[in-house]
């Protein structure tokens, strides 16, 4: 893991900058607020993780950045791609950006690969559309990209159909597709969740290599803290659509300050827990969306105070490059 956490700042340095970003479905009082008040910035070659469980709204953030929200979804705030505001751009302009400067990979590779086209054809189409390459040039470049993502025997495999690849290989093909136009930003929605642990390790290594060698900024969304800890320099913890904590990964993992993060650690079985004893489960379950007054985690928090239920905590700075949204942090916590 790279040793210096980069503190990217809004402005010229960052590849992607979100300010006060929010996503809402539907209008009026029946609308569902799924994400609120998200700030983050990623610099060149940096890998940032967004961690959250189901219902936290994390996937919606990526979809909204790409302009792929469902028709009744509205994103607000500011999304800047290399200083250019891309939120709510018309579709035509987004089409140019998507796949070009900004690409996304998904949890299930089959969804972005057309089942009845050979993958060579799919890769070449992208190259022709975005980089105006001829068939021959595109074919060569596609093979080069497949070799880059470590698909063995790429020259032969380029003529295969998606279903002829295994899960891990399909994921690599999808990464290759995303990288064809050398995007400055790569968005990844749970890219390794559906993969076996050994294959996951290989894909994570691949992503780290891409950030290091091409300077691509990567924003990865996952529910697996282990993935984040091994890959990302910085992490944002999301619960119920609101940011709970944000900062350098090592710091957040080593000294979790937010009750949610602490609760998760206590609930996970492998970190020094004596086997056979009860885990400290977080009671209840996450309810998607629907912002009530107060902290999003209040209903399940072990340290909840009356203030937590009435006032939404604001993100406060808490040490180098780290922010946390909790009323209790100034009071009793040990960082």
């Amino acid at each position: 893991m790279p040793s210096t956490p980069m503190i990217a700042d809004a402005g010229g340095e960052s590849v992607l900058a979100l300010r006060d970003f929010a996503v809402r479905f539907g209008a009026g009082p029946q609308g569902l607020q799924v994400v609120e008040g998200v700030d983050l910035a990623i610099g060149r070659g940096e890998i940032m993780g967004i961690v959250g469980e189901s219902g936290s709204g994390k996937s919606q953030i990526l979809l909204a950045i790409m302009g792929l929200l469902a028709s009744n979804g509205r994103a607000s705030g500011s999304v800047k791609l290399a200083d250019r505001e891309i939120l709510n751009l018309p579709n035509r302009e987004m089409d140019q950006i998507r796949g070009g400067e900004m690409a996304m990979i998904f949890q299930d590779p089959m969804t972005s690969l057309t089942p009845h086209l050979r993958i060579g054809r799919q890769l070449e189409e992208i190259l022709a559309a975005h980089r105006g390459m001829s068939r021959k040039a595109a074919h060569a470049e596609a093979i080069r990209m497949l070799e880059l993502v470590q698909i063995p025997d790429a020259r032969r495999r380029i003529d295969l159909f998606p279903h002829e690849f295994s899960g891990g290989m399909r994921q690599r093909v999808m990464i290759a597709m995303a990288l064809l136009c050398r995007p400055a930003l790569l968005l990844a929605d749970e890219p390794t969740t559906a993969l076996d642990v050994t294959v996951q390790a290989q894909i994570l290594k691949l992503l780290a290599g891409i950030a290091r060698d091409f300077g691509t900024a990567i924003l990865i969304v996952t529910h697996d803290f282990g993935v984040v800890a091994s890959l990302c320099q910085r992490v944002t913890v999301l619960y119920g659509g609101a940011v709970m904590e944000s900062g350098p990964t090592a710091d957040i993992v080593r000294r979790p300050a937010h009750p949610y993060r602490k609760g998760l650690i206590a609930a996970m079985p492998d970190l020094g827990h004596p086997p056979g004893t009860a885990l400290q489960a977080i009671p209840g379950q996450a309810k998607p969306g629907g912002f009530r007054p107060g902290c999003a985690f209040a209903a399940r928090c072990a340290s909840c105070e009356p203030l937590c239920r009435s006032d939404r905590p604001v993100l406060q700075t808490a040490g180098a490059g780290r922010t946390i949204a909790c009323h209790l942090t100034g009071v009793a916590h040990d960082w």
């Binding site: 803290f225 282990g226 800890a229 090592a250 000294r255 009671p283």
Partner: protein, 328 residues
């Protein structure tokens, strides 16, 4: 472990081979998918045995084979010393009250058009048709309370519950007949970490209170370590290693076990985690065409020439563990 106790479940050389596609002519041979390829083990009463492996290793097929939900191609399964009756027979159905299963996808295992009260009560009504409706309802409510479901939710339908709650419903249904064995087929894989912990705690309690044996199938090593007394590692339908959980995790003997443990991202005390270096190349070969000899040979960093022969099962750790490896 008392040596002369009859194992609850005794499996010898179990094989599940599935033909892929149909032959054009009856004489033509068809490729066989060797999902389970010669597995032997014993499960003692009250024991929790974990079965780990990646996708394609055959663990789910093994789980279903043990319940005779799919007939085995070869090999023997004994329940308390007696051979299992043929699948689909009335005597097999009778035995099902002793062995139950909970599934990976909690919602899919519940009939969408039945209330959860009916769903949980169905096994009761199947095996004890003489019970009155009131009796059934009383037992269902008791079980709902035991697994942490509010009684007022009895008339709701599965889609109105969350994943964790659906899993509780599945557990209630499995438990209502007081079985001796519950096979858990990746029950927490589809759940969030926080909910997963609730389910794990529930299983721990129930195991203690009802004296259950558990066969816990999962790819999540941490969960398995937390719940199980012994762990079996599968690869391509064959057993690579089996032994007491603490020993297996502390001293993995098989190269594959070592790779599995190394591959899971681990967070060190100082908060860093490095990308694991596996010593593993490539991906698992297809179960349609497994290597002769040790199945792990294509990816093992230590593969030697003798690994072209099937690996022998060796004892280790004072006869409590077994490893299938030439080099162990």
């Amino acid at each position: 472990m008392t040596g002369d106790e009859t194992p609850l479940l005794s499996v010898r050389d179990l094989k599940m081979h599935f033909p892929v596609g149909k032959p054009l002519l009856p004489e033509m041979r068809v490729p066989m998918l060797r999902a389970v390829d010669g597995i032997s083990f014993d499960l003692m009463p009250g024991e929790a045995l974990g079965i780990v492996g990646e996708s394609g290793c055959g663990k789910s097929t093994l789980g279903r084979a043990l319940l005779n939900l799919q007939p085995a191609t070869a090999g023997e399964i004994r329940w308390q010393g007696e051979k299992l009756p043929p699948a689909g027979s009335a005597s097999m159905r009778e035995m099902r009250r002793h062995m139950q299963i909970i599934f990976q996808d909690p919602l899919a295992s519940l009939d969408p058009h039945l209330t959860i009260e009916r769903i949980i009560g169905l096994p009761l009504r199947t095996f004890q048709p003489e019970l009155s409706a009131a009796d059934v309802r009383r037992q269902v409510h008791q079980m709902m309370e035991r697994v942490g479901l509010p009684l007022s939710a009895a008339q709701l339908f599965p889609h109105q519950f969350s994943g964790g709650q659906c899993q509780r419903i599945g557990i209630a249904r499995a438990l209502i007949l007081r079985p001796k064995l519950i096979i858990c087929d990746e029950p927490t894989s589809a759940l969030d970490v926080s909910v997963q912990a609730q389910i794990i705690n529930l299983l721990l309690e129930l195991r203690r209170d009802y004296g259950l044996s558990l066969l816990f199938i999962s790819h999540n090593l941490a969960v398995v370590r937390h719940l199980c007394d012994r762990v079996m590692v599968l690869y391509l339908g064959q057993m690579m290693e089996i032994g007491p959980a603490d020993d297996l995790f502390a001293n993995p003997r098989h190269p594959y076990t070592r790779s599995l443990l190394a591959a899971a991202p681990r967070i060190a005390a100082d908060g860093t985690a490095s990308l694991p270096d596996l010593g593993l190349q490539g991906e698992p070969p297809s179960p349609l065409d497994p290597p002769k000899g040790c199945p792990f040979i294509t990816r093992c960093a230590q593969a030697a020439t003798e690994c072209n022969q099937p690996a022998p099962l060796k004892w280790a750790h004072g006869n409590q563990s077994q490893v299938a490896c030439h080099l162990a």
